[in-house]
Symmetry: none
Subunit: 156 residues, 2 copies
Amino acid sequence: MPSRNISDIIEQYLKRILSKNNQIEIRRSEIATLFNCVPSQINYVINTRFTIQQGYRVESKRGGGGYIRIMKIAFVDQQNLIDSIINEVDTHISERNALIIIHQLYDEGIISQKIGNMMYAVLSHNTLNCKDKAAENKLRATLLVAMLTSLRYKRQ
Amino acid sequence: MPSRNISDIIEQYLKRILSKNNQIEIRRSEIATLFNCVPSQINYVINTRFTIQQGYRVESKRGGGGYIRIMKIAFVDQQNLIDSIINEVDTHISERNALIIIHQLYDEGIISQKIGNMMYAVLSHNTLNCKDKAAENKLRATLLVAMLTSLRYKRQ
DNA sequence: TATAATATAGTCAAGATTAGTCAAAGTCAA
DNA sequence: TTGACTTTGACTAATCTTGACTATATTATA
C-alpha cells in the first residue's frame, strides 16, 4: 500500500490505531506537528476518509481542551437493503414517496412504528413547509438520506 | 475519556457526587480553591453544564453563609419531560444544545440509541448546512419540535 | 436601629486556546 | 493538458479562562 502523500499516511496512522481501539481522540495541532503539516490538513483527511459512508463518526470540540474524536461504526445486518433504498432517493422527493419509503422500512422490519412516526413527523409537508415546492422536496430528500444513513450503523 | 480542561473536571466532580445524592450544596470559593481556578469559573461550569435542559436546577445565596445548591430534577413521567423540553426549545437552537437534549432523552430512557442517532443525523450541522446560521438554527428548532411531538404519542 | 464592614455569589468582556472553513496554489496521473 | 486530488494559510468560530467590577446577605458597630 504505497502512500506518497501526507493525507494517505495520516489516514493509515489513524486507521491503524482505530483497528485496535475503535475510538480515538486526537488534538488537531499535535497530529499536524507529528506529520509536519498545517492543522487544516487534518480536517481534509477526516472529511475525505472518515465519513459516515466509510463507517466513521466524528465529534469535536473547540477551545481549551478541544479535541477531535473518531469512532468506528459497526453496520447493521440490513445494510445492503438500506443502501439500495438510499440509492432510490433522488435529490428531491415528495411527501407521498417519502411515506412509501417509510412504510417499506417498517415492512422490512428495519424500523419500529415509533421511528416511523418520527420520520414522518420530520418529512411531512406540515413540518417542512418551504416557500416553494422544489425547495421543500430537496430538503426532504436531504433529511431522508441523513436518516437512512443513520440506520446503516449501530453505535458500538 | 481524558478531560484536559478544568471545566470538564469540575463538572465530573460535581456530577459524581450528584449521582449519589441528587442534591449538593457547595461554596463557590471552596470549589475554586480545590481546583485552583478563579471563582467565576464555577459559574461558567454551572451555566454550561447544569442547565434545566440538562436536568438540573440551581439555587444560590450571596452574603455570609452563601452557597450554590444544585439539584437533579426528577420528572414525574416521560410525557412531562417531553413537554417541558418542547417548551424550552425556542424558535432557534444550536447543534450543541440539540445534542444535549438528545442525550437527556436517552438518559431518561425515552429514546433508544437508534432513535438518538437518527435525531442527531437530522439535526447535525453537517446535514442542515444552511446559508446563514440563524436560518439553520431555526430549521433545527422546527425539526426538533416535530420529533419531540412525535414522541408524545404512544403507539405500539 | 442605622450604618459600616465583611463575606459571599453574579456578570461581563477581554484574552487564550482550540478546531472549522474556504479558496488559491500545487501536484500528478490519464 | 486537463481535471481530480492534495496542500497551504488566512480568516472565522467555538469554548475555556481570568479578573475587574457589581450585587446581595450577614455581622459588627455606632
